[in-house]
């Protein structure tokens, strides 16, 4: 068994073949490298790369309680990174833990053009990396907690202490990749990936009608309480004057720009000449 998190945390281990540097390497591929905050990608970022000799059977823990304990630690950090409050759910309510799973994280980040190229094994077998990464993140969090209060786990700290521990972690090149990944998972999940539209609604998007089927509400203008307005037959001005209109247009033309004659730039059809 290889020790993760240094001498302070002998109880947090993963099976042979996985070391903290392996986790950091994976997170580096995902764009969370310690040194730059950006991806560190080798020129052989494929099956011939760093993971070629690892047997997937070696990735898994023998002690599932450790994995469960790690998840509890991570949940405590997520509740601080993206807390729930009076009018919006937080990371735990939007099931951010699911976004830590690479099979969810990778396609989401990739289609947003946020990921560097990955070794093929990360696409082919993302699930084998999940638990080692979570254990390593938990070990990092507990290591940070021990610096706040010796031999106290992260989940046992007060909220202020957790915040201070995370502050130090974000400043620590060794811990930063773990925390950046955790932070990204929280906000991705909050902003509509995987299971919830809570963050989308909080920042002003229309709610989903049915999140499981991925069906968002459709159509504008709407009233502020969500009713779809018939723009051709209802009095939009009256609704707006009453503060009841959640439109998407100002229905106003900007004033002409003095001295900017577009007659030589655009044709009658609205195309550039």
């Amino acid at each position: 068994m290889a020790t993760i998190g240094g001498a302070l945390l002998p109880h947090l281990t993963v099976v042979a073949g996985w070391h903290r540097r392996d986790v950091l390497r994976v997170l580096g591929y995902l764009g969370f490298s310690a040194a730059t905050g950006c991806g560190q990608v080798s020129e052989s970022a494929d099956d011939r790369g760093q993971f070629a000799g690892i047997d997937p059977d070696d990735y898994f823990y023998e002690d599932t309680d450790q994995a469960a304990a790690a998840d509890r630690t991570i949940a405590a950090a997520m509740a601080v990174l993206l807390p729930s409050d009076f009018d919006a759910a937080g990371a735990l309510e939007v099931e951010a833990m699911d976004m830590l799973r690479l099979e969810n994280f990778i396609p989401t980040a990739r289609t947003q053009n946020l990921l560097p190229p990955l070794p093929a094994v990360l696409d082919r077998e993302p699930e084998v990396f999940d638990e080692p990464i979570r254990i390593a993140i938990a070990a990092t969090l507990d290591g940070l907690a021990s610096a706040e209060r010796p031999l106290v786990r992260f989940s046992r700290l007060s909220d202020d202490e957790k915040g201070d521990a995370l502050d130090r972690g974000f400043d620590d090149p060794a811990a930063r990749p773990m925390l950046l990944f955790l932070r990204a998972a929280c906000f991705l999940a909050w902003l509509g990936a995987v299971r919830s539209d809570a963050g989308l609604v909080a920042i002003g998007y229309p709610p989903f009608e049915n999140f499981d089927d991925g069906v968002a509400v459709s159509g504008y203008p709407r009233t502020t309480d969500g009713r779809l307005v018939d723009a051709e037959n209802e009095d939009l001005d009256a609704l707006a004057a009453a503060g009841m209109l959640d439109d998407y247009t100002y229905n106003r033309a900007p004033e002409p720009t003095p001295g900017d004659d577009l007659s030589l730039v655009l044709d009658a059809g609205g195309d550039l000449i």
């Binding site: 764009g31 950006c38 991806g39 990608v41 601080v80 990174l81 993206l82 409050d85 937080g90 099979e103 396609p107 989401t108 289609t111 947003q112 053009n113 946020l114 560097p116 190229p117 093929a120 995370l166 502050d167 929280c186 906000f187 991705l188 902003l191 509509g192 990936a193 989308l200 909080a202 920042i203 002003g204 998007y205 229309p206 989903f208 991925g214 069906v215 968002a216 459709s218 159509g219 504008y220 723009a231 051709e232 439109d247 998407y248 247009t249 100002y250 229905n251 106003r252 900007p254 004033e255 720009t257 003095p258 900017d260 030589l264 730039v265 059809g269 609205g270 195309d271 550039l272 000449i273």
Partner: protein
């Protein structure tokens, strides 16, 4: 033996499939088979009876509006540079492309501008980049046809000029105010979106009728004319075979991987600029000597295939407007509905405000919170770091950040430029992946982007806000969703891969008909021009105008 195989179903492939299928049905007695292969899924459930994907929704198609990862993965893919992407100081390129039946139309924002006349007159080393047959005037007929098919019309500022659902957004009005402040003008865009229900959530697929994706027009015409569709068919190689070609790949329908091989007489490659070029690069060893795909390389040792990739001058930025400006609400309404053409005459770029995608916020930071690592940059990393009451930097997590995100809808404004560039990109391919590279930005492109960046920064400043640091200035990464070139057309076989009809110089009946053949940046969104070039090429093919007719090629009686 299939008569015509079309690889890809975007703005080039859909036009080719429709026009060839119609011609075969109407003029050739319907006696020939046309098959479209696409590596993605059929989002409608209508085209490929054997296709498999997520279940149909209540509207009878497979579109969702979700940001769920598995769905996003079905709509688009990213090509990138393994050596350079996201490495500060290393120039690199990322290209996002549509995936699935309909190609780029599944992701595009409906912007339907014709390329300006100057686009076609660009020269390098004193030589015109475009074949002499192509001018704006010569393409206007084809543009008209495409505009009718895609139901293009112009947006309006007020409902005195158009139905309320055809209006520009709040984002556009705020952007127009900013433009006016710097002496420029914003005008409504032309969009392909008739029947739009004012979606308000328009950028990832479209489950309603608003998005004029190609399944609603050209591909439906092809289907009605007997064209066959095979989705989840990823083509890996093409090669000459007898009088035609063999297409080899993997059929992934049903979650299985089953090799397939199809022989055809006429082969049309239209998988998009990067994927089409990548496919030809992978296949080049099967085309040797006089049939070499790249005659420039074969005869002169000067490769053309995979070179001259344009980003179309894409340069997107984000930022916030000040608290005293009208709310932007950048996430509502059509994803793009106005543009600023004022800088085109002098600087050859246009500016477009666009939909603010929420997930970008997840990995980035939306205001001045990062240490000023880049003192010469303008934007978030060079501005003072906000401090909390205890004197520590404002966190980009926790309740403060959550609260800051709530201002997103009201204050975040995203915009970008499309510009002429010098086609600095390259495409490479091996068995595992297709990559794109951007080795160095030319002085001309750099100067153009610098002016565009300054103008956009001025707009934010005029609106009382600030522009954030973008990936190009941060780490040299060029992001493009409008890749063009890589397999350019030309009049001389040593300067291009295909002739002005899109046919390979050295391989009869092998065509490339998509953005790959476009020999320069366009400076505007390219969907109309890709489709118009395909209309032009296939029109000449079926008429036998300056090239053997399709009937002759198929040996039709």
């Amino acid at each position: 033996m299939i008569d015509v195989v079309v690889i890809g179903s975007g703005f080039g492939g859909a036009v080719a499939a429709a026009r060839i299928s119609e011609h075969i049905r109407l003029a050739l007695g319907g006696r020939h088979r046309v098959v479209v292969l696409d590596k993605g899924v059929d989002p409608t459930g209508r085209f490929d009876p054997d296709g498999t994907a997520m279940p149909l929704n209540a509207q009878g198609n497979r579109f969702r509006h979700t940001l769920a990862p598995q769905y996003l993965d079905e709509l688009g893919e990213v090509f990138t540079d393994p050596r350079g992407a996201y490495r500060p100081g290393v120039p690199s390129m990322n290209v996002i492309a549509g995936k699935g039946l309909g190609g780029g139309s599944l992701l595009y924002d409906g912007v339907s501008l014709r390329a300006p006349a100057e686009t076609f007159e660009q020269t390098r080393d004193g030589r015109r980049l475009w074949p002499s047959a192509f001018t704006r005037a010569s393409l206007n007929g084809a543009y008209d046809v495409v505009a009718q098919q895609l139901r293009v019309r112009q947006m309006a500022w007020t409902d005195a000029d158009a139905p309320h659902w055809a209006l520009t957004t709040k984002r556009d009005f705020v952007f127009a105010q900013g433009c006016r402040s710097i002496g420029a003008t914003c005008v409504p865009l032309k969009l392909a979106d008739v029947n739009d229900a004012n979606e308000g959530w328009w950028n990832q697929g479209q489950r309603f009728e608003g998005r004029q994706d190609l399944t609603k027009n050209y591909l439906s015409s092809a289907l009605a004319s007997g064209c066959e569709f095979r989705t989840a068919h990823e083509v890996e190689r093409i090669a000459p075979a007898g009088d035609g070609y063999v297409v080899r790949g993997v059929d992934r329908r049903g979650g299985k991987k089953k090799p397939f091989e199809i022989e055809c007489r006429v082969l049309i490659v239209a998988a998009g600029a990067v994927a089409s070029t990548g496919l030809l690069l992978r296949s080049r060893d099967d085309f040797r000597n006089e049939r070499a795909l790249d005659q420039g390389d074969e005869r002169l040792g000067q490769p053309v295939l995979g070179r001259h990739l344009s980003s179309n001058g894409d340069y997107g930025v984000s930022g916030i407007v000040g608290p005293n400006v009208l709310p932007v609400e950048g996430h509502k309404g059509k994803p793009m509905s106005s543009f600023c053409p004022s800088f085109w005459p002098e600087h050859k770029f246009i500016l477009i405000p666009f939909h603010a995608a929420p997930l970008y916020l997840s990995l980035g930071q939306i205001s001045s919170m990062s240490p000023p690592k880049y003192p010469t940059a303008s934007g978030r990393a060079s501005t003072p770091i906000a401090e909390r009451a205890n004197g520590k930097p404002v966190r980009d997590w926790g309740p403060e950040y959550k609260s800051l995100l709530r201002q997103f809808g009201a204050r975040v404004l995203t915009m970008g430029c499309l510009a002429l560039d010098e086609c600095e990109g390259e495409i490479d391919a091996d068995d595992d992946r297709i990559t794109v590279k951007w080795r160095e930005t030319s002085r001309a492109t750099e100067d153009r982007w610098k002016v565009a960046s300054e103008k956009m920064q001025s707009i934010y400043a005029a609106l009382g806000g600030e522009m954030f640091l973008d990936t190009y200035r941060r780490d040299g990464t060029v992001n493009s969703s409008h890749p063009l070139g890589g397999c350019r057309m030309a009049e001389d076989p040593t300067e291009g891969i295909v002739d002005p009809t899109g046919e390979s110089f050295s391989n009869p009946n092998l065509f490339v008909l998509d953005g790959a053949i476009i020999p320069s940046a366009l400076g505007v969104n390219p969907s109309m021009t890709i489709a118009a070039l395909a209309e032009n090429a296939v029109g000449r093919l079926v008429r036998g105008e300056g090239t053997p007719s399709l009937a002759d090629r198929l040996g039709a009686q």
